[in-house]
Symmetry: C2
Subunit: 212 residues, 2 copies
DNA sequence: CGTGGGGTTGACTCAAGTCAATTTGGGTGG
DNA sequence: CCACCCAAATTGACTTGAGTCAACCCCACG
């Protein structure tokens, strides 16, 4: 069912919008973004995906991938043939349950982002974003306070519903206030408590280990 | 598996956030909203659900309902016991596939809303909202151009990431421009082409029969 | 009949977008 | 190895769309 690992260079497409759906993919190492190209040419980022996360589940409903998946750094992927997975999950109830949980979790995550996009302001969005990345790195055994962003300011902005200038300005403000230290893609969270306070003031629950 | 229909009066809770998950629910007649209560007391609407749609799938991942589901008018519900559904879908591959499609479709819909919230402005959001409702009514054999809103301006705003005043103002503007006719909850779409143009200018694909 | 929740409208404010100028830094080819 | 180049990032000045606050209307309902 799980084919051999495949590797993808930075910038390579795992799949493209419009392609026929056959498999979902588990990120083994590296970092991906998923994004849809809008009619007017702009790109909307729908998610960032790191080690251990599953990509491609949004294609099950139509058998067509609705978005692109692009490696943001050299990455390794496990392809999971979906109809084989379905077959197997018929015989293994716990696998079946696990699959359903994963699908459902994706829905919950999306609701979290809807919340963020619908009711938070720029600083809160960025704080939520950084804390979420931090948690996900921590859960994978990396530093929770110091990491490299794999994506551009524009991609962050697209994901968070902000313009790249706003992302940049907000990072600068956080740095000025001593919450973080940024230089280019490398980030250090210097005062997580304060970052959480930025979030907390507007009241948004961030799922613990979840991609927001 | 499918228990007898249950009825819910307007304002009644189908389930509440925090309750244990056991079943998903198919709306037979009526209209529901799902919403989460934020820490600060405000409510965030995550969806509106009408005849034929399934509610509660976001609870599969944790076995706890993450949001409330509330009837916006007198409604009938079919409860679907989820572990029985899983059991059955082990024996009926087409049912299994159908379930997966439904779960995946929910993800796709959420991505659509993320798009809306992240990149559209007020008029575009409202136009998308109205056209989406119109499509869903049409798909169920009701008029696509004339219907009653079941929700308040505040609930629409919460769903679309706008304040109720903005919703009201934008309706008024649409009316002034001859795109729609509103009085209170009753809406008539008078110029769908123009409404689609409002959408089109920013470039957002609206799924055909999908709840956005 | 009141009363109150839902809705509309206006005046004002401000957060974020836009436009533009500059700096930085990584990658490439000579 | 260096110089150049271009994409990414930063910062400033200005604009604007939507939020805020407030007054008011209008039914529906007790």
């Amino acid at each position: 069912m799980v084919s051999a690992k495949q590797t993808f260079k930075r910038g390579a497409y795992l799949y493209r919008a419009g392609e026929h759906f056959q498999s979902i993919y588990a990120v083994r190492t590296g970092f991906f973004k998923t994004a849809t190209l809008l009619d007017d040419g702009r790109e909307q980022v729908t998610g960032f995906h790191m080690m251990g996360e599953i990509i491609g589940m949004d294609a099950i409903s139509t058998d067509i991938h609705p978005c692109d998946a692009i490696a943001l750094e050299d990455s390794e992927i496990c392809e999971i043939h979906f109809s084989q997975l379905e077959q197997l999950s018929r015989d293994i109830p716990t696998l079946q349950r696990h699959l359903h949980r994963i699908l459902s979790r994706e829905i919950v995550r999306d609701h979290g982002i809807m919340l963020l996009l619908g009711s938070m302001k720029a600083e809160e969005r960025l704080a939520a974003f950084l804390l979420n990345l931090s948690q996900r790195f921590a859960a994978r055994g990396y530093s929770s306070s110091s990491f490299n962003l794999r994506m551009t300011r524009e991609e962050i902005g697209s994901y968070l519903g902000l313009k790249l200038e706003t992302v940049s300005r907000t990072f600068s403000k956080f740095q000025k206030d001593g919450l973080i230290s940024v230089q280019n893609r490398s980030i250090e969270l210097q005062d997580m408590v304060a970052l959480k306070r930025v979030l907390g003031q507007q009241g948004c629950a961030t799922g613990k280990n979840d991609r927001i």
